[in-house]
Each structure stands twice: as structure tokens, then as C-alpha cells.
Symmetry: C2
Subunit: 806 residues, 2 copies
């Protein structure tokens, strides 16, 4: 493939064309090209060389790595952008963060960082000379070295180059509340096909030109993915232009395969973009303009694997998918490949780029900025450096008063909403806390926050609208992917936030949270990466209360998903009531470098604990609720009723009441679990309990009936190593559900109070004879409830109309 | 909100405007409106009434359901489309399938189906008269009744109205290889914000106008989601028009809130769309045109909750988000709400719509088609009716010859590729098998299929491209969501397919597979729903072999995710070699109503089993590999080495070799697990083993060292009920990884042969004294390998250079 050599003017209909392509003085042009050539040389060198980095000797097979790994195809394009962003930063004295969407091109980003000296600042043993270059080359994709992609180890990055789709939402997240920051976001034409990326184009309807920074998307069309042409690269330019205008952008097109012409056109396009961005920001900030701006965007078309081998073994490689990874694969065995590699590497004329000691020559570095402005050194990419403690309100101000357990009810998330309102108000000036959610803030009963801030919205507003706010800090879009991407970008640049989501649909971001957990697992081991605020999920509208929706909205499996991941990162909390939710919220908002999953209901829920009790319970993570049990302090209980989650807790306490009434001699212990990882062994999770602690709560041989919020086998997976495990019997969600009443749901899944009493009768040995009658009585109660519900379409009031008398 | 009453012309720049709005004769117009009024009445009736369905008596509180559930807001729009699709079907004698993206509007789709008689055909007790109407109303969102959303229970649907985002990809999947079918696809403006939906707009670059049917997207902008305006509804019409043109469509705009005007405009827009579609198909089919067509699309703007209460309690409701669910919430308690409800219901003039027996009057049914053409009766929505057995090739033709175990190696997925090539060839005429994947068919080594068919592609083609084919049946787009949506749509309409995907990134569709499993779980219990072909995943490029990519590409947790779901639906297979993969493929392609997850490597893998052995092993799902063990037939083994997955099998067999050499007196049994659910108890999964079967394989008290492909605790979760469980020790992936060598990966996660030998020494009691020396020897070997890998950047050849001598 060969593109037309000349940079194209902007597409028909564009109101903006880049300025004349010869605006760049020749010496600057040549210096830019030298930087680019150096970066290309360094990228190819990382993929191939383990010795002879400056090609001082003729290339021999033993200089070449035995395993050739990495992605060359995208690297020249990323290098080009790196070169030109350097120029923009230097010329404009601006803070720029770059999101490298095609992060598979790790060699490119590493090359740029090595050239600007930020790599050596981060890793002093990789010096900016021949010895350091040798290390840079050898370590790449080498055992014990650095990963093939842009990764946490890469200075200047907040974006792993693994799974694709999140570049643009990360970029917007980083730009929010950073008014002086320009976030350049390179989007590959492969990534552009993904759903998360496609959704995130509309982020510009949420970007406040007053308080937020700017995002400059650079859509890089190199034409191919692994083995296929990319869809956007094969649209007629007019059609692509319509698409991007329809996304609210002003596209500026740069195309070509003649380096100097492309340098000129790209420099002009970037200058034009910055001019437009400055005009937009000035209009909004100084002149109070309220029109949604049309932000610029650059479409950059250059060949895949540009400057690499044009042909290998008679097949075209440069400009095709064949250059995606390693264009010459047989270098050690195939003399012709070796020769081609040497020709390719020497085509960059390394002797002109590096001095005898391997240091980049001055003209190579002419475009490179200094200090923290370097792309590899910006503190925005190491957000912990910028993080401030949140001004968290005192919990007691919002706690529910509790005279006795189970006498009153509150909507836990509504109580939390009041607390969050104060937090929103307290951060109104600092603007470093955001709430995100897929159009569910009110549905999840957090609407009190609108007392302090509105919903970010830059699109049209009508009189009937409520709480829309050009400067709001609640972010709502019906895309869990975009919500997650925004929040990740916000956290990674040193701010705080909370994601409220329907429990079932948080699975949409399973894959995203995997990547974020992996990111945190690695950054925690890198001393130069400073801790960032945790990614906090509030999962509500949960499996047991999907009255309007039914089976499709019932899935408690996110907990299982997250608990498979790095234990140093993941935490799961199941607060049983409003006050405990407040305590958990306080805890997770203070934590760092974690992914916290909090599951709490939005429906009225009995209050069990006073604020003080809740705080203590939350600190322990698990505890005996003595007031709920009937065990004599001097002997072991006959049975342990355990619970985790609001609805299971309610059913367990109702079961305890029934046992107190019907089997008064039975010694019952009630244990509530807030912090699910407590059930794991101490050596498997930092929150895990020792065996002694576990046994003291659950006993070593008594039956334990455990009512759990989610899939019951998860509890077995956590507790299987315990001595008492053979006595553990778990009830939970078994994928049985439809649109029905709350009590019908627990009955359907055998989690109801009556079933729990039957479980006790079935499992406690040596019960009095009348236990059989009690069991039958419970069976009858289930039948009676079932029939009543089927006839009347609602639960018998008695399932909520009781108060705790223990 | 009030939209301008007149239907707008197409947007500026449109080359097509609908024909004059008065083309519809008045009697037809009135009949359409009568049908729409009836449907609206029935939708509202379902949400509110449990008695007095025809309002023969004044409305009293006891006629109203105690729990008011459902989504009114979207229903009038869906009803409008249902009415008009009826007309189109009847007028054009076409097969139409409708995908109701806003499936929360269950009452609407049920209303339409009841009106056209297909509901009664499916559920004879819900007759098309007053008694049936009473049932229809009462059952909706009622315990023991039908779900609130469009669901498997809904005749005419292949698309659950729960999680949003998949309407358009489902529609395209349904249209593929159904040349005579028109798939209308209603997309809500909420759903349009999701990533999966946004990505799926580009499906039109893959739709073959010759062999595929047509998709007519109807973007329904009612302006609001749960609590927010929708983004697309707040774009200026010109900008929205650009966006949709950029997506390759020709938008036809219909807007208004005056029913008769909207009826006229919508009828004209549909007629125009059909005319365009017919022209496109004629051009491609009869005239051999090869230009990618610009398919029509309808943008329909009508008020949310149209015809419902305009105001409630002084706040605007119709045309706002407040009509999203139940516009009048307090009907039983609030006399004013009750009065408003009665007014609202009577506003449809039910007495004009239904006769005294509650039967729809003739003019209401004038637009309704007959027989299988009815939207609620089309066999395309009950794909099992159309399903044919696949012509599967004989396995032996493609099997790897195996003289002795472990002497040769094959790439399992490449062997499967050959088999799939024949299957592709055998279905060339029938066109009922497709392979989908996110740009990975060749990367996953299945490229042999290109010998039989190419990659579907309607966009521009260049000379360098390979295997692109306007009529191809391999579908590649870099969107796992779109791949999954296409395949689901294809399967649900009665065809077959396979999804090949990188193991780590299949988590992108966690949420989609949840919904599909739920769908199948319900349809399996509906006698009128005929079984469909299973959804088959081939997960490759798996956790142990991510040489080019590293940590971000390592995640074996999809297995855990799927095994949480309905056991009657889910199956997981881990074939240890190429021949077993062939047998598993044969099995899953024959199966029905399942989600099958097959994990297999693409790298060269030792051949262990002959085709006959593989077939027998696959049929059992788990078995002792006697040739690999050293147990004396007359006594129990000292230790069981179990394995599941290709890499773990290799390490276990190497461990068995080491034990044979170093501890020759030890009686070792090797057990391989192909079908993971076999480990579950029989009562928890249809494939589960009885305790007797399990004990016969794994013993009741001997140590079992289990090398597993994924997260080790999953094996405990499956086996915790077994007597021998305390002796079970599992090795697997522990989230330790980076870009490194294959053997370094297994060492890092303690899954390597040396570690397994050490595990044996640590766990088998009463070993000879020299076992300690053997253990040290293994420890030394690990150290030696580690150092060699760090120095040389590759594995010592000995980890692959051995042959099985047992």
C-alpha cells in the first residue's frame, strides 16, 4: 500500500484547513526528522538486538535475540506523534499527557522516553548512552526485563497497551478537572472498532471547557489490524469525515508516506488544533460562552510499519498487516533476513543520530522538552504525586439513629447519598471527587448529591430537565464502559471517585477491571509509582431486589470475578445496613491502590447497628452479633447462623427469631460478615483470618448455616481449608429468578427464613422430638406464603412487619 | 416536551425524502391508529389492571395491581412500530423479524402479539377475548406470570429486553444468510449510548446484499433514559444526520407528537425504506453491483410515554423521563391518581376497539398479517424450527497420527482449522455455518478455513489484501461484542457457528454470555421453543502462551465465570492435544441449547492420544492414562497426578517421567480431565460424577496433585464435597506473569514439572530417604532453568526435547 504522498487538505466541507505545509523552517524540520529516525532505530533495536546496539560491528546472528517479540507495525506512527508532541510542549510551554491507545507499540514509547531522558530518571541504570542503549534493547520482552507493551513500568503512561478500547475514555477522565492539561489521545484504527471506544466518542458532550482540560484525539489510520484492514481506514474520506463530525469533532486530516511532507503537515495540524483549543477555552472561560464547542481531532494516515522492510520473501510488508509484529522473523537462521535487518537498521544512519558514546546528538534532542513537561516525566502520569486526602464528612452526622436492632428501616444508599452530598460540597473548590454511573444515580437513590452539584452536560438543555449542569461533577452516560474509563483516567491522574452501578450489569466492565487490577498489582511493586485512590464500586439494585426487571437483572457474580484477582488489590464489602454502609464508604474512600466492591441495597432495610457498633463491626470485618443469638456464654453454640449481605442478614435474623420462638433451648450464634475476604486464610489474602480466629467464630465442628448474597459456592471456595468446612452449609443465589416479589425471590432460591430453620433442623444432631414438627411448620409457612403471593401479587406484610425483640 | 408536530423532511443533504405525507388513505390511517390505540390500551392495562380489563365498571382500587411494575415510557413508540410493521408485512408479503431493543417495553410487544393472535397460538389459555385479556393483564409482572421485559417467554422475540447494547448486532446476525428476511431493529436512544451498540453500526460493512437479508434500523429517540436526556436525542439534527451517514446509512427522519401526522410520515418512511432495500438487493443480485450500498435507516422522534398522563402531581410526565416506568404510582391509595388512570385508559376508547366479548374489532385488526408472517409467529424467532444438522466431516480425516504418546507435536487449533475448512466447504451451498472472531482467525491458526471461504467484507479492497470476500462466511471485526452479537443472532435464528477468541479478552463478553445463558435456561423449559445450536467458544492464545503480549493478555477466569451459571446450559472442555480438540469440536457442534467453552492452544503441543483414544477419552470426559502412570494394577497408587489443559498436561507428564526416573518405586496414577464439569457432584451438574466414580479415579485418601489450566481454587470449588478433598492440592495460574518464556511462566506460577515433583515428595507419606535428595535436585533444576532463561532469553531446549518412553 502506498498512500498519496502529499498531505491532503481537510475533507470537503471542513471549515478548517491546516496552514501552509511549508510553515516549518528546514532546520526544525530536519531536527524533527532526526528525532523520529532515532526513535525508529531504538524501537527496531529493542525488538531485535541483544548486543552491538550502535551497529559498530557488522550485524551477526548472535547480536540478535533468540525470541523476536514485539509490535513493530504501530511503532513508527507512535514515534512520529511522540516527536511532534515534544515540539508542541516545547513551543507552547504546555502540560501534555499522552494516552497511547496502540500501546502494543511499547518499543516506541520506551524509545521516546529514553530519548528525552525521563527513562533514565526513572531507571538510573538505563543510562542515555551506549551502555544504557544496550540495556534498553536487551531488557525489552526479555525474561526479567520489561513487557512488550506500554505498561505500568513505562514512565509517562497511565494506560496499559493490552486490551483495546479504553484510550479515549481514559483521556477524558484525565482531562476532567485539569483545566491546564492537554491530553493527546492516540487511537489506533483497530481500537476504533471496539465498542468501548466507539461509545466514548460522545465524551465530548460531558467535557466542561471551563473546569476541564482538553482532549485532542489523534485517530491513527495505519490501515491494518493483525491480519485485516481496519474498517475506518477503508471508509471514503468523506464518510469518515461525516462520522467524526457527527461525533462532534472538527477533523483535520494528515496523510502521506513521504516523511518530510508528513512532518510539515502534522506540525501544522497540531498548531491548528492547539489554536482551536485555546480559542474554545478562552471563549468559555473569559467570555462565558455556553455553546458546545466542536473540538478538533487529527486523522493521521501513515503506512503500517513505515520505514521498515518494504518486502520480505517476495511479499509486501511495509504498509500491510504483515508488519504488525516482527517483519523479519528468521534473522538468526536466514542470512538474507539478517542482511535485510542490517540494511533496515542502518537506513536510519545511527552514526548521525548518536555520538561515539551512544548519546543522542543535539539535533536529535532539539525538539525535546525539559523536566516535568517531558511526556515520560509528567506527574499527571503518576497521579499519586498529585493526590490529596479527601475531606470526608464525619459519619455520625449522617448515621441512622438505632435504639434497638431491627426496629427501624432506612434505604442504605439514600443515607449514603446524604453523606456524599457533603463530600461533593466539600470538594466544590478542589474539584477532585466525581461520581459516575450509567444513568442510575437517582435510580440508585443517591440523588441527594444534586444538592451539591449537578450532572455534567454540555449538550442541549430543555426547561423540563433537572440537575443538568455545565460544571457538574456527577457523570452519567448509559455506557458502563465509558463510566469506568472516565473514572480510571480520573483516578490514575490523582483524583477520587465512586462508580455506582446495577449489580448485574457491572459485568460489562469485567474485562476493564481485570486490566485495572493488573495495573495496580504491578504499580504497587514499583517504588517510583505513588499510590492512587482506589477504584470504588457501589453495586446496588442488586440480585434480590429487581422488582421492575427480573431475571436478566439478577447476577451477583462480579464478586466471584474480582476475588479471582490479585489479593493485595481486591476487597469486597457487604454491609448489612445503612450505618455499616457509611462506615464501609468511609473506609474505601480513604484506601489506596485497591479495587473495592461494595454491595448494598437501595430498598428500605432494617437498621441493625448503631454508628459505633457499625464502625467496630466494619473494622473487624466479621463478628458475632451476640444480641441476635441465644448461645450461653459458657458453652459452644449448637449451630452458627452466618450471613453476608443485607437480604441474607434479614433472613438469618428472622430465622434466629423463629428458632428462639420454636426451639428455645437451641444455642444459636449469629455471625455477620462485612468484609468477605476475611473468610480466606491469612496467607492467601491480607484480610484473611488465621485458623484460630476463624474457629473462634465459626467453631471447628458445629453446623454452620451460611446465608450469602451471591453464588453459594463462593463461600466454599473461600473457606474450604478450614477444619470446620465439612459442616458448612451455604444458601445463596442459584440462578432462579423472574419478575416477582422480594420474598418469592428468597423462597425460590432457598434463602428464606423458613428454609434456614429447616436447614438447622436437618443439620443439628440430637434435637428434641418436636423439631420435626417445627420443620413441618416451616414447610407449611413456605407453602402458605407461596400461595398468597401467587394470588395477591405481593408479599404477606408479615415478612417486613416485625421488630427484633432479642 | 413537545416536538414540532409536523414530520420533518429528511435532514439537509439527504438525497431521499419520504413521499408526500398524505399518500395514506384515510380509512387505512384510521385503522392503523385504531390498532395503535388498542395496543397502547393493552400495554397500560398490563401494567395496572388485575381486574375489570374492559373498564366495564368504573375503576376501583381493587382492580389495580398491588405492585405496579413495568416500563410505560417506551411502550407507545414500540406499539407504533409494531402497528406499522404489520402494515408493511401485509402490504409487501415479506418475512419480517423485529428486534425490540427497548425490550423493557414488554407490555407493548405482548400487546401486539395478543392482537395478532400469535400470543394465543403460543399460549392457548390467553385467548383473544375478555377472559384472555384479563389473563394477559394479570400475568404481567405478576408472581407466577410473565416477566416485565421482552423475554424468552415472549413470542416473536430472540432478544431479551434486559441489558442494553445488542439489538443491532443481533439484527445483523439474524439477517446473515437469510436473503429474503427483513430484520427491523428498534434501537432506543438509551441503548444507543452503549459501547456494544455504538460498535455495531459498522456491521453494514459486513452485510452481503446478495446472500444476506436486510436490516432496517429504527432509531427511536424518545428523548430520555431513566432520569436523563439521551445524548443522541440532544444533538442538532444535522449533527445526528452526519453521524448516521458516517455510519454508512441513509437516514430518513420522522418526528412529531400528532398521531395521524406521525402515522402518515412513518408509513411513508417505511415504504421508502423498503423501496431502497429492494433496489439495493436487486442491484446486487440481478445486476451484480459491487458498490457498498448506503442502507436506509429511520430516525423516529416521538414523546416518551406518549398518550400517557401529561402531568402528575403538577409535574410534566408525558414526554419526560418521569414516564420511564409507571407514570401514576399511587393509584390504589390516591383517588386523584386513580381518576387520572381511568381517564387515561378511557382516552383510548376501549369500547370502540373491542367488542362486548373483548375481541378486537375488525378495523383494529385490519393491518394485522396472517399465519407465520405475524411478528409474534415468525419461525425466524424460534430458530430451532429452521435448524438443520451440520454435515460434520469425519474426524479421522484430520486427526494427527499418533504412534506413541508424546513423540510428535501439532498445533491443535491448526488441526482444527483443517477440519473447519471441510465444514465450511460442505456448508457452502446451505450457508448455515459461520466463524466469528475479533481479527484473530489467522492469529489463532484457523486460517485453513480460507481455503473454503473468505472473510466477509463490503468495504474497499486493495490489491495487497488477502481472503477478503464479499460473500465470505468468516466474520472478523475488532469488537468481541459485535462478534458475539452477530453469532447470537445467527444461532437464535436457527444456524450454527463458532467464536474463536483470545482467552483473556473473552471477558469482554462476560455480560453478554450471562444473558444468553439465561435465555437458554428459560427457553429449555418452554416446550414451544425448539432447541437451537449451541454457542461455542474456542478460547486460544491462552494464559500460558502469550509470548508477544504478557500480563495484560493472561486471564483464564472466563471458565469460572461460566461455571457459575445454569448447569443445564454450561460446559467447559480442556482438550489436552490436537486429536482431543477435534473430538470436542465434533461434540460441541452437535450439541444444542448449550454454551460450550473450549480452551485449546495454538502452539505446537505434544500428541498424546490416537483418534480412537481421544474419542473414548472425550466421551468419558475424564480418565486414567494408564500408559503414563506406574501404578501396579493390584494396589492403589501412592499419588494421583491430575491435569486439565494442554500445558498442565505436558507438565504433569514430564513430572511423571521424572518420578519414574528418580522414584521408580512410587505408584503414580495420571488422570486427565477434558470435561471440567465432571468434577462436580452428579446432583449439581448433568455431567457431574457420582462419588463412587470420583473416588475410583482420584481415590478417597491418597494425595492428588492437580495441575490446572486456570485459577487453582476453581478445582476446589468443584470438588469440595468429595471425601478425598482434603488430600487435593491444586496448582494453576496465580496472576503471576509478564512477557517471558513459556517455561518461565509455568515456573513463576509453580505449575512446572519440577515443582510438581516437589509437591509429590512433600505430600506422599513414607517415601524413601532419597526423596529428599530428589526434591533438592528438582529445586536445583528450577534454579538452573531460571538462570539460563534470564541469561539467554529463551527456554532450555530440554523442556520440549523429550519423548514419552512409558
Amino acid at each position: 500500500m502506498r498512500e498519496t504522498a502529499a498531505p491532503s487538505a481537510a475533507a470537503p466541507g471542513a471549515s478548517d484547513a491546516p496552514p501552509p505545509a511549508d510553515a516549518l523552517p528546514d532546520d526544525e524540520l530536519n531536527a524533527l526528522n532526526a528525532h523520529w529516525r532515532a526513535a525508529n532505530y531504538l524501537a527496531a533495536g529493542q525488538i531485535y538486538l541483544m548486543d552491538n546496539p550502535l551497529l559498530e560491528q557488522p550485524l551477526r546472528p548472535e547480536h540478535v535475540k533468540p525470541r523476536l517479540l514485539g509490535h513493530w507495525g504501530t511503532s513508527p506512527g507512535l514515534n512520529l506523534i511522540h516527536t511532534h508532541l515534544n515540539r508542541v510542549i516545547r513551543t507552547n510551554c504546555r502540560d501534555v499527557l499522552c494516552i497511547w491507545g496502540p500501546g502494543h507499540g511499547g518499543p516506541a514509547v520506551l524509545a521516546g522516553s529514553w530519548l528525552d531522558g525521563s527513562y533514565t530518571r526513572t531507571y538510573p541504570d538505563v543510562t542515555r548512552d551506549a551502555a544504557g542503549m544496550a540495556r534498553l534493547f536487551r531488557q525489552f520482552s526479555f525474561p526479567g526485563g520489561v513487557p512488550s507493551h506500554v505498561a505500568p513500568e513505562t514512565p509517562g503512561s497511565i494506560h496499559e497497551g493490552g486490551e483495546l478500547g479504553y484510550a479515549l475514555s481514559h483521556a477524558y477522565g484525565a482531562a476532567l478537572d485539569n483545566p491546564d492539561l492537554l491530553v493527546a489521545c492516540v487511537i489506533g484504527d483497530g481500537e476504533a472498532e471496539t465498542g468501548p471506544l466507539a461509545a466514548s466518542w460522545h465524551s465530548n458532550k460531558f467535557l466542561d471547557p471551563v473546569h476541564d482540560g482538553a482532549v485532542l484525539p489523534i485517530l491513527h489510520l495505519n490501515g491494518y489490524k493483525i491480519a485485516n484492514p481496519a474498517v475506518l481506514a477503508r471508509l471514503p474520506e468523506t464518510e469518515l469525515d461525516e462520522l467524526l463530525r457527527g461525533c462532534g469533532h472538527l477533523p483535520i486530516h494528515v496523510s502521506g508516506d513521504e516523511p518530510l511532507a508528513v512532518h510539515r503537515a502534522l506540525a501544522a495540524a497540531l498548531d491548528r488544533s492547539l489554536e482551536l483549543i485555546e480559542r474554545i477555552q478562552r471563549t468559555a472561560r473569559a467570555e462565558g460562552g455556553v455553546e458546545r464547542p466542536r473540538w478538533p481531532l487529527i486523522v493521521l494516515r501513515t503506512p503500517k510499519g513505515w520505514t521498515g522492510p518494504a518486502e520480505v520473501d517476495g511479499l509486501p510488508v511495509e504498509g500491510t498487516w504483515r508488519s504488525h509484529q516482527v517483519p523479519l522473523a528468521g534473522v538468526r537462521e536466514n542470512a538474507d533476513h539478517l542482511r535485510q535487518l542490517e540494511e533496515w537498521l542502518r537506513s536510519y544512519r545511527p552514526e548521525e543520530l548518536f555520538d561515539a558514546e551512544g548519546r543522542p546528538r543535539p539535533d536529535v534532542l532539539a525538539c525535546v522538552p525539559d523536566g516535568d513537561r517531558r511526556l515520560g516525566a509528567t506527574p499527571y502520569a503518576n497521579g499519586g504525586l498529585l493526590l490529596r486526602e479527601l475531606p470526608l464528612p464525619p459519619l455520625e452526622r449522617y448515621a441512622a439513629p438505632v435504639d434497638k436492632p431491627g426496629a427501624t428501616r432506612h434505604e442504605p444508599t439514600a443515607v449514603l447519598g446524604n453523606y456524599l452530598e457533603e463530600l461533593m460540597a466539600a470538594t466544590a473548590g478542589r474539584r477532585d471527587f466525581r461520581l459516575v454511573g450509567p444513568d442510575e444515580t437517582a435510580s440508585n437513590r443517591l440523588q441527594a448529591v444534586y444538592g451539591a452539584t449537578g450532572k455534567a452536560w454540555q449538550a442541549a438543555v430543555r426547561p423540563v430537565d433537572e440537575h443538568l449542569d455545565r460544571h457538574g461533577r456527577v457523570m452519567e452516560i448509559l455506557s458502563e464502559h465509558t463510566c469506568q474509563g472516565w473514572l480510571e483516567g480520573y483516578l490514575l491522574t490523582g483524583r477520587h471517585g465512586l462508580f455506582s452501578c446495577y449489580e448485574a450489569f457491572v459485568h460489562l466492565v469485567d474485562s476493564m477491571v481485570n486490566q485495572h487490577i493488573k495495573w495496580l498489582r504491578v504499580t504497587r511493586r514499583l517504588p517510583w509509582r505513588r499510590p492512587i485512590a482506589s477504584l470504588n464500586y457501589l453495586l446496588t439494585s442488586h440480585v434480590w431486589r429487581q422488582d421492575h426487571n427480573g431475571f436478566s437483572h439478577q447476577d451477583p457474580g462480579f464478586i466471584d470475578h474480582v476475588l479471582n484477582k490479585a489479593p493485595e488489590v481486591v476487597r469486597v464489602y457487604l454491609p448489612p445496613d445503612a450505618n455499616t454502609l457509611l462506615c464501609v464508604a468511609d473506609r474505601v474512600l480513604r484506601s489506596r491502590d485497591r479495587v473495592n466492591v461494595v454491595v448494598a441495597g437501595k430498598q428500605p432495610c432494617f437498621d441493625w447497628l448503631t454508628p459505633e457498633q457499625a464502625r467496630a463491626h466494619c473494622a473487624r470485618g466479621v463478628g458475632i452479633w451476640h444480641w441476635a443469638g441465644t448461645e450461653d456464654g459458657h458453652r459452644d453454640p449448637d449451630v452458627v447462623l452466618a450471613c453476608a449481605g443485607d437480604v441474607p442478614t434479614q433472613e438469618v435474623l428472622a430465622c434466629a427469631l423463629l428458632l428462639r420462638r420454636h426451639l428455645p433451648d437451641l444455642a444459636v450464634r449469629v455471625v455477620n460478615v462485612v468484609d468477605l475476604a476475611r473468610l480466606l486464610p491469612r496467607e492467601e489474602h491480607p484480610h484473611g483470618m488465621t485458623d484460630a480466629e476463624y474457629d473462634a467464630l465459626f467453631t471447628r465442628e458445629k453446623p454452620v448455616i451460611f446465608a450469602y448474597h451471591g453464588y453459594p459456592w463462593l463461600i466454599h471456595r473461600l473457606a474450604y481449608r478450614r477444619v470446620g468446612h465439612p459442616q458448612l452449609h451455604v444458601r445463596g443465589y442459584k440462578e432462579i429468578g423472574t419478575t416477582t416479589t422480594p420474598f418469592d425471590m428468597v423462597v425460590g432460591n432457598d434463602l428464606d427464613r423458613f428454609r434456614l430453620v429447616m436447614d438447622v433442623v436437618d443439620r443439628v444432631p440430637g434435637l428434641a422430638v418436636r423439631a420435626a414438627a417445627v420443620r413441618q411448620h416451616m414447610e407449611d409457612a413456605r407453602t402458605r406464603h407461596h400461595a398468597w403471593i401467587r394470588e395477591h401479587g405481593q408479599d404477606l406484610p408479615e415478612v417486613l412487619d416485625w421488630s427484633w425483640t432479642g
